[in-house]
Every structure is written in C-alpha cells, then in structure tokens.
C-alpha cells in the first residue's frame, strides 16, 4: 500500500495549525462559558444528595449536568436517572426530577422535617380533579389539635403517594409541593 498523497500527509503543519486554532478557540471559550452545572441547596442544609450514580455529597453543592444524566448507568438504578434524592435525619426523603429550569436557576429544596404523627389532610392546592377522590381516600379523621407542620407533612406524604401511584405527574407534584411549602413558610 502506498502512502497517501493527501496534502495533509505531506504538509501536516497546516492541519496542525487548523487543529491548534480550534483547540485554542475552544479552550478560550471553555473558560469563558460555563454550562451544565446544577447548584443544589436545601432547607435544612447538610442533606445528603443521591443521584443515579450514587451519593454525590451534601447540600449545598454543585454537580455537573452529566452527573444527573450520565451516558451510562445501571439498569437497577434507571428510576433515578435525571432525579435528585435528598435525605436528612428527621426529614422525609425528597425526590425531585431535574428540569432545564433547575439547571438554569439552581435548585432550592425544602425538606419536610417534622416527624410527628400524621395529621389530617387538607386538600393540596391545584390538585387535579382526577386526583382528588384518591387524595380524599387518604384523609384521616380530623384532628383539631394538629399543628400546621403536622398538617403540612401529611399533605406532602399524600402528595408523594399520589405521585407514586401515577395519579399526578411530576410537574404537577412539584407545583403543589411548592405551594404547600410556600404557604407553610409564610404562615409560620
């Protein structure tokens, strides 16, 4: 086989120049442009963060987009793909599906940390009509003495059950969760 007569073969330096130009421009851009980082903060801070690849650290922390969406993962952990799971002693675990908006703005998650006994359910705001009957089936007998955090925790638990049962979608679940937490924080 004869050596190829490609101009680049005989004159490799022009190709090297072109490649170097690309590399130099790329390097400069890589320093100037930052993409694909997710900042995760929680209330309370110090929650352990689990991703599809396993433990990632404790909040507050930043992970790369590729940590959220690895090119390969174990089939056994497929349900964690694109998800963030926060755990904190004394708090209910919180699963959150990462969206583009989260990556742009960062994640601020509030964990439900009151572990007192479940209280009565108040219908979560914006619950879809289809999901409401199911939500009411979880309603315990009214407990006039239940505190606001207890009611909030119960609401969040029911919300998680609705999500797990597929009666509401992740977007709707997130919207309602935020409403519950916001309502709680403004009232506290």
């Amino acid at each position: 086989m004869r050596a190829p007569t490609c101009p680049c073969w005989r004159h490799a330096w022009p190709c090297a120049v072109a490649l170097a130009l690309l590399a130099a421009s790329g390097g400069a851009l890589a320093q100037g442009v930052k993409v694909g980082t997710l900042r995760i903060a929680s209330v309370p801070a110090g929650a352990s963060v689990e991703l599809v690849g396993g433990a990632a650290g404790v909040t507050p922390l930043a992970v790369s987009e590729r940590d959220i969406y690895p090119n390969h993962y174990s089939d056994a952990r497929a349900d964690m793909y694109g998800m963030v799971l926060l755990r904190h002693p004394g708090c209910a675990p919180l699963r959150h599906r990462v969206t583009l908006g989260d990556i742009e703005q960062g994640l601020q998650l509030r964990l439900a940390c009151d572990t007192a006994a479940a209280g009565p359910l108040e219908a979560p705001p914006e619950l879809s009509p289809a999901a409401l009957p199911a939500a009411q089936s979880f309603t315990a007998a009214p407990r006039p003495g239940a505190t606001l955090p207890q009611r909030r925790l119960r609401q969040l638990q029911v919300l998680q059950e609705l999500l797990d049962d597929g009666l509401i979608g992740p977007d709707e679940e997130q919207r309602i969760r935020r409403r519950i937490l916001q309502a709680g924080s403004s009232g506290d």
Partner: protein
C-alpha cells in the same frame, strides 16, 4: 505547481477556519442565556444531555427513549389539556431544525464517465450544506409519528426531500411486538447514520442500497435477543408510477414496480459488554445497463446481503463500532447477465468524548468491489479505503464546530475500458464547519 496550490489552499482554509471560529465564539457568548433546545428537550423540559452523550450521538437513555416509542411516561402531560381523554393534541407545533454549513478543500473532482470531461474546485463553500425540519410527537398511548424534510441538502435548492417519515405502533395487539410503517432506513437496525459524529458517511450502507425505503418493520424482544423483521418495496424513496390502467386522471400512484418485496431482518444480542447482531436481506433490484452501467435495465435481479455488526465501549467515554456486509448481486450487469457479482465492505469507528466540550472520532471505511472490479462500470467505484478523523467542539450542547480530515489510502486507478470510472482520483479532504439543532 499543484503542490504550491495545495499549500495555498490549506493556508486559505486555515484563515477561513480562524474566522469561522471567531464568529462561533461570538455566537456562543451571545447565546449563553438562550434556550436552544430541540423538540424532545422542549417537550419534556430536559437538557439535551439527557439523551445525547455528544449531539447527535445518543447515550444509554437516548437509546432507551428511541426504543420506547420516542416518549417518556409523562407524555400525556405535555399534550394540550382539553379535558378529552381521547385527544392528545401536542400543545405546540412540534418542530425542530437541524442546519449544517461547511467549508471543504478536497482532491475529488467531477468526471463525466462517458467523456472524461473534468470539473474541479480545490475549495468549496458548502454553506448551507443542509437545512432540515424535523417533527415528532406521541399521538396516542401506542402511536408515535416522526418525520423530517430536508430543504437544500448538498446544493439541491428548489427541492424538498422527505427521508424518515413513519408511524410506529408499540405493543401491537398486546403481543409485545412494535411496528413501524413508513419510510425509514433499513441500516438503522445496525447503526443509524443520522446520529453519527463524523461528517463522513457509513459508505457501505449507501453502496449496498440499504438506506431509505418504504416498508414495514416489526420488532420484539425475546429473552436475551432483539428480533427485527421487515419488508420494503426495494425501490428507494424517489420513484413512483402513475396508475392509469383504470382510466384517465386517477389520483393514486404506485411506489413499487414489482410484486416482490425486499425482506430483511436482524437478530441482536448482548454478549457481555458487546452488542452484536446478524443481519440478512433478500430482494430484487433492477439490472444495470448502458454505457458504464449508468442506466437502469429491464430485468429484476436477485440481491442478497449478510451482515455482522458489533459495538460497545472501551470506557465510559469511548465508544466503538464495527460493521461488515457481504453482498451478492446475481446477474446484475446486462453486459454479462449470467455472471453473479459478489462484493463486500464495512466500516469501523471510535468516538471519544472526554468532556462536554470535545468529541473526537475516527472512522475507517473499507470496501472491496470484488467481482465488480474491472467491469468498466461505475460500480468499480465501490472500492474504498479511507480513514476519517473528526474533532468536534461544542459551543453549546446543540451547537458544534467540526474539523475533519479524510485520508484516502486507495491507489488511483486508470480506466480499463472506454469509460472513465473507478478510483480515478483521491478523495482526501479537510472540512471545517458548523452543525446545530434547535
């Protein structure tokens, strides 16, 4: 003299490359906060990184998404909420765009096979090279559609070419069989050309004639195996015939010109870390006739293809793939219809994606014209032996600049007869440009 021209050509290209990169840098900086995301990302509010290891190459989840009827479980929520459970209308027109623009310097020429008349340009602005509009959406629990149309590919302005265009029905009659009906590439069963990283093609697919065709494909998992079985017209996607035997002015058209169909199938399996497959196809094709075999003949001739494919990963960021095809074209040339022509070829490649900014690819195409060599037809040109090196830089997830070098190792040939066919010139090239989807 030629050598000096070539050096000048490369200096000119280097300058053009620098200008393009400077422009791209401005583009990237100016679009830092822009949301440039293709349709699936828009629909599910996901990053491109969810499905692509480096656009357009799919990652594990992207493969899963494609195999799952191109949808996520919450697809219904992305439809317009009209209060009608029997209507899943997309809440926006599901469109995306892919565009490519290149500058190329090359050795290859246009040579008239009959006269030998030559046209040559050492450098070429291939911008736009391609403008493509894509659309896809889930339409029901089981049905998804996908199509794209190309506006202006390789200078074909004034035409619109529809390539992929199909409906898929998942879990047909609850049998676990998925069905696809429409236009698709037979070769997609092995390695989809549309998601490759290099500009250079998987040439053996084109030469074997297993790219776009109209037909139906059935797929099913069976234990450790994936089984695919399909049927196509075998005529490609451009030809059609007007039906006029019932009378004047009938509206319908035929897309096939014989009752025989091409049947094809693949058995795939995971062998440890290797995805491997056996492919087979059998059908008919029109013979080749006329000077240099340029014309389609009147005979339907038998065609058979057998293939082996394998792919895997050397590490989480290094992908490899190999394809081999053996072809039997019985009595293909009218010049010698009693002769059966066998030829073979394939390709092998590696993609290295070290980070979110860079991807590097090497693609080796090797094809042997076999019995078609020295036939003094255009089919001598099946012979190929080239290595392509590609470097892709991602300004954004969906905007990349590429530089690609193609090295041709095949010796030039001289015509063996009256026609100017075969490997008359080298196909070395250098290419610089942009590729984006949004």
């Amino acid at each position: 003299m030629l050598q000096r021209n070539v050096v000048n050509m490369f200096w000119a290209l280097a300058r053009v490359a620098a200008l393009l990169l400077a422009g791209a840098a401005l583009l990237a900086i100016s679009t830092r906060s822009a949301s440039a995301m293709p349709e699936f990302a828009r629909r599910y509010n996901l990053s491109c990184a969810a499905c692509h290891s480096a656009f357009p190459r799919l990652n594990q989840f992207g493969e899963h998404f494609a195999a799952n009827n191109m949808r996520l479980p919450n697809w219904m929520e992305t439809s317009k909420q009209l209060g009608d459970t029997r209507l899943a209308l997309p809440d926006h027109v599901p469109l995306a765009v892919r565009a490519q623009a290149y500058v190329q310097a090359r050795d290859g020429k246009t040579i008239d096979p009959l006269t030998g008349a030559t046209q040559y340009a050492a450098t070429d602005f291939q911008a736009p090279y391609l403008v493509k509009v894509l659309s896809s959406a889930p339409l029901s629990e089981n049905i998804t559609y996908y199509f794209y149309a190309i506006f202006a590919e390789k200078g074909e302005n004034g035409t619109v070419l529809v390539e992929d265009a199909w409906f898929s029905y998942a879990n047909l009659f609850r049998t676990g069989i998925d069905m696809m009906l429409g236009q698709f590439q037979i070769s997609d069963l092995m390695f989809p050309r549309e998601v490759r990283l290099p500009f250079q093609d998987y040439m053996v697919y084109r030469m074997a004639g297993i790219t776009y065709d109209r037909g139906v494909l059935f797929s099913r998992g069976a234990g450790p195996f994936n089984l695919d079985l399909g049927f196509t017209n075998g005529n490609g996607i451009n030809g059609n015939l007007k039906i006029n035997s019932p009378g004047y002015g009938r509206p319908d058209r035929m897309f096939d010109n014989d009752s025989s169909k091409t049947v094809f199938g693949r058995i795939g399996a995971e062998l440890g870390p290797v995805h491997a497959g056996l492919f087979g196809a059998s059908g008919k094709q029109r013979s080749a006739t006329g000077p240099a075999g340029l014309l389609g003949g009147a005979r339907d001739t038998d065609k058979r293809i057998f293939g082996l494919d394998a792919s895997g990963q050397f590490s989480p960021n290094v992908y490899w793939y190999v394809q081999y095809l053996w072809n039997a074209w019985d009595g293909f040339l009218d010049a010698d219809p009693a002769r059966n022509y066998h030829w073979n070829g394939g390709f092998a490649g590696i993609d290295w994606i070290p980070n979110d900014r860079w991807a590097f690819s090497a693609l080796y195409n090797r094809d042997n014209a076999g019995d078609l060599a020295r036939t003094n037809t255009i089919y001598e040109g099946i012979a190929m032996n080239s290595l392509t090196l590609t470097s892709s830089y991602y300004f954004m997830r969906n905007v990349k600049g590429i530089i690609e070098l193609n090295f041709d190792f095949l010796d030039k040939t001289r015509p063996v007869g009256p026609y100017f066919v075969g490997h008359l010139d080298k196909e070395n090239y250098i290419l610089v440009g942009f590729d984006t989807a949004f």
